[in-house]
Subunit: 347 residues, 2 copies
């Protein structure tokens, strides 16, 4: 474990405000980098790529080498958990494709198979060894609700009809599915920490699809239990939650889950983040990924505004969502320069 808090990012996640905000970007490793595209060509399927330590470690390190972020995020995918549970996981041009499951398939899921994810821990070890000591390594997993949406819908969904239908009609059966995902996710995160990650993030990309009651039941509760279980074993490891699209419910999320930091999407107003979230947790976010794609003055103004409004408290700079594949890499370099400006220039 590397929990001695020598990394600016881990310090920030511990609640220490810093002169210059630490930064990293969701999907900072990925298709917008030519060196990633070359690397990706070396594996046939995306799952195979994620589970080949040599390739996944290199993908993890590429953006840090180029741009000097304060953290690397493990190159992996939130659908590795369904894969480990024995579900078929493929990817086509439109996103992931899974063989959708229903209540009758619960017993067929392979509950204990962290073994299938063993290569991920080898990737973590390789990354930690090769990363500079001032760069943190972030592990992650999908939060149970979001993972369940993919498992039940069989891919992305507009209306989440099937997964919500299950949850509304048969909350006990659905709670079993959430429980299966939750237990493997907890083990998966703990094993990542054991292998060397310095913080973990839970991605709940579809948290915004639920009414408050179900948000409490399927987003907050499983997250709270995972956070508690991880903290019981690794008290000092920061946990970042990202309930994307949660709107006004971000407040309840940070109050009830015990996450150390919250990643906020682009639509979260900075005043709300400062007044209602940052008093309780570290805030991470929230530049519009399209502004990174656009670059120039529009990006610079927005970056400085985010930094001015949130930089006074514990803060990690990030996007509100992942880097878009069409993003020119030189805009990320420009972002790094802006974030390196002394605080006075950002006012």
């Amino acid at each position: 474990m590397n929990l001695d808090k020598i990394y600016p990012l881990v310090q920030a996640l511990g609640g220490t405000p810093s002169r210059r905000p630490p930064w990293w970007l969701m999907r900072q490793a990925g298709r917008y980098l030519p060196e990633y595209r070359a690397l990706r060509a070396q594996a046939e399927t995306f799952v195979e790529f994620c589970l080949t330590p040599e390739l996944a470690a290199e993908a993890t390190l590429q953006p840090v080498r180029r741009f000097g972020m304060d953290a690397a995020i493990l190159f992996s995918d939130i659908l590795l958990v369904p894969y480990a549970l024995g579900q078929h996981v493929g990817f086509d041009g439109n996103g992931p494709v899974l063989d959708a499951i229903g209540a009758g398939d619960l017993r067929r899921l392979d509950n204990g198979s962290l073994l299938r994810l063993e290569p991920v821990f080898e990737t973590v070890r390789r990354c930690r060894t090769r990363l500079p000591t001032d760069v943190a390594l972030i592990g992650f997993a999908g939060a149970p609700w979001t993972v369940a949406t993919y498992m039940v819908e069989g891919g992305p969904s507009k209306d989440f009809r099937n997964v919500k239908e299950w949850a509304y009609r048969d909350p006990q059966g659905f709670a079993e599915l959430i429980g299966v995902i939750e237990r493997l996710t907890t083990e998966f995160l703990c094993a990542q920490i054991e292998a060397g990650v310095d913080a973990v993030q839970l991605f709940d990309s579809w948290a915004g699809a639920l009414p408050e009651r179900e948000f409490a039941q399927w987003v907050i509760e499983p997250t709270r239990r995972i956070v508690a279980a991880v903290k019981q074993r690794f008290a000092a490891c920061p946990v970042i939650g990202f309930p994307r699209g949660a709107g006004a419910l971000y407040e309840r999320y940070v109050e009830e889950t015990d996450v150390d930091a919250v990643s906020i999407d682009t639509a979260v107003p900075l005043g709300f983040a400062c007044e209602r979230l940052q008093k309780r947790v570290v805030v991470q976010g929230n530049l519009d990924p399209v502004l990174l794609l656009v670059g120039g003055k529009a990006m610079a103004a927005a970056v400085r505004e985010i930094r001015r409004r949130l930089g006074g408290g514990a803060f990690v700079f990030n996007l509100g969502h992942g880097v878009l594949p069409q993003t020119p890499p030189e805009h990320v370099a420009e972002l790094a320069r802006i974030l390196a400006e002394p605080t006075d220039a950002s006012a």
Copy 2:
């Protein structure tokens, strides 16, 4: 005009709380009704269907006849405005398909062509004549930001990359596009009111995709100007705004746009709606459409909860989004029965 407020819905929209909340459902006319599917088969394209008064009026009236809602919503589409501006608008299985426009196409748009929408006003007249006098008729249009997303993306989008890129790179040019949409939308709504609708709703389905600054610029400002222009001509006509997904920004939206009522999506917490929105405007919403599809006890409990939490103030019952095509019509009948219960039973 029918602005004498004899309709329960219009009374509610005027801020008068009622013993039994008035109700209607977004997409209450549509594919879940067998009589709609039979009617739809009588026109080749969807635009043609919308622009044939005999068919569109019948589609508008069908759900009211079956379920007795307090309002009919004009059967129409938010993409009739791009159609009137001269853009090609088609529909395939995945939704609308438009010939995407960019900055260079602004001059080619036909600014003044409300004539192309003349059949819509005939539909309004037929509906108003045939509707019972205690049933209100609601007209609508897409809000400029949402309409612009379709015009620039050429259809639905996950990341709104093209439309945001234009807005960020060239805010003046993009403001011209918004202005063109805004002017025609204002005229379109006023002509609907003139023809007989009793209230209008502005659908801003993709309001939740924007950071606060751009939300103010492209959602709040055009909406505020449209509301002001409509009110100048029809002071008594209630305007309902629906900035779907606006999260914490719903509050600023109701403070700054001068809408009479706000329609809230499923993710808006009832406490937030009651404390922060309902003090200022009428609140309309927000049952999860999947609960209408599921029906039974889960639906009944959620309906009673919404009514209990919001029924004390000015309130119109609705969904948080449109009726799903897979919804059994008998669940809508069941909803009508629950909403007809005296208030005591709903506690």
